[in-house]
Subunit: 186 residues, 4 copies
DNA sequence: AATGAATGAGCGTTCATTCAT
DNA sequence: GATGAATGAACGCTCATTCAT
């Protein structure tokens, strides 16, 4: 019997630890050697667990999207009013803002760089769609357009956090959005 | 100094023509040779006009941001009501959606890939800030938070156009946003 | 010492089974992992039986050369005339043409790739010489030059079977060679 | 205008110089870096002239086969008797024995290593066939089987020069072959 | 101004071999 | 004896950039 390690478990461990490394330097800029060094393994080991840099990244996307959703649902509960649900959601995003920014940045960079050969690989889009859908479900708004509205707002918020020098207050924005929506839905 | 005008004019011509090439393959994936070939010049010529790939791209960012803003202001006029201004804005974005998506994609990819050495170069952020500010001005809303709100929504719209399989209707979204805001501002 | 017999028997079994794998992909192209997988063992096991890829191959050469010779002598008998002996020989080669082609191909590839460090290892050359000598003995021609002549012809036949699109008929060639030699030796 | 060098001429120069390097270490063992160093250029330059290691080698095959044939025809003349033609041919091979051995070795090694993806590329086989055909033509023997006979003999001679410790005398073999054939054709 | 040949560091990836279990 | 995870040097190849012409 070889060394007792759960192959799959170790794979996920490497995956999760690789996120910070990707985030720090970007998908295209970090090298497999740097990744390996950062993870404390050799390049050979990296390739023992993942067939390629792209595959490693794609697995990371899937895993993180899955975990993000799980984490959110675990602590979100099911508040009675839309206002509260929006607040809960914004709180969650605010708490993990840094993580989400890094993710969006990485996903976009990767998509841009590999879009040519990504058409076959639906995993990327489907993962995003699934998350978006789950959030829409959580909000329980009667009109899908309203859910879209909130999501647009949220994704825009993330973008501005990335590009603008001046940061934006999440609680404040959540309050504003709530007020606006309540006024509209009344 | 006629020579300088020619040089500068040619430089901008190359810049503008390079946008489609960047958009098609991504900043990190396209090579200077491919760029040169696509522009119908040699790599040497490219380096005669731009000191580096990064500098070329940065100049492209600045130029396009400038032109986008100019184009918008040129055709936006100054409608009397907020509703109309928002509609005008959304129409403009809808008309140029493809372009804007490509730009956002490229800007993000570039930022992500070069952020390590971008700290010195403020051009990138300042260009984005300037555009954002100009749009906020155009809307003439009393409360800055409202302008932020609209912009967040807009940027989010762009993001979702990129990642989601299902496209989103701009006119419809504009109408919704107008209604919501009118209900709130009343 | 029963253990040693088992070990040795198993080693030869692996050796023989590895021939087809080497033949299919070439010495330089097949990996130890592929070899192990094809044999139904782990790489570790392979290294338990053979100290290195090169040693494994060298043992294969020796074993196959030995067996080829044994097989030939077993079925060749001792026909009274040179013509018959040549015919027997050509029949044998014809029957095993595919095998011999693969062997020549592999031996050449290996020799070419490792010749730098093969000077010490005489096994390779001596194995070839021994076979050649045995065949010469079998023919029982008075003049060594005639034996050389036949062997040259045979090895050339193999080479042309490898490289040329048009295959060559062994029986026909054997008949021709016989006639020619008989005419000469008369 | 760039540096004045005839791209194509320089390519052939590199090609020819690369033969000795390939011959010395083998196709599979020599690296592009070693090749570049041996040629006195950088790896980048090598790739400027040849798209890949395989393509470089294939071009070398074609070029050498072409030149060998040209050289032979240039000095072969058209002797009146078959005996003389065979002698001329064997003299030529004897004079270039070293070269031809190296070529056969390399061609076989390459073929063995790349045969999987070589099916499309007919250049390899066709080049060999062409040469073989030209030699057959030169001999002007009425019966194709006789030409085949001579060629088999020749290729076998080369093989034995490669593998056997004891070298074989070309003039002697040529004389023998002539005698044998003359006895047969009479 | 314009060319494209030249460079070489560095990339993603492979694979013979080792070794803890 | 058997396993397969781990290693890391080395491979083929790329590409931003330089520079002689």
């Amino acid at each position: 019997m070889p060394k007792i390690v759960d192959h799959d478990q170790y794979r996920k461990e490497l995956l999760l630890k690789s996120f910070d490394l990707f985030a720090e330097r970007g998908y295209g800029s970090i090298t497999m050697r740097q990744l390996a060094q950062g993870l404390g393994v050799s390049t050979g080991t990296l390739y023992h667990y993942f067939p390629s840099k792209q595959a490693l990244f794609l697995q990371l996307v899937e895993e993180l999207d899955r975990q993000d959703l799980l984490n959110f649902l675990a602590e979100a509960g099911n508040p009675p009013t839309l206002t509260e649900r929006i607040e809960t959601m914004f709180n969650f995003v605010a708490k993990n803002e840094d993580n989400f920014c890094k993710q969006v940045l990485l996903w976009v960079e990767f998509y841009q760089q590999e879009k040519a050969e990504l058409s076959r690989n639906k995993a990327f889009h489907s993962s995003w769609d699934k998350t978006t859908q789950a959030i829409a479900d959580y909000l329980q708004v009667p009109d899908k357009a309203i859910a879209d509205f909130v999501l647009n707002y949220l994704y825009g918020l993330l973008m501005r956090g990335i590009f603008e020098t001046e940061t934006i207050s999440y609680p404040e924005q959540a309050t504003l959005l709530s007020k606006i929506l309540v006024a509209y839905l009344k």
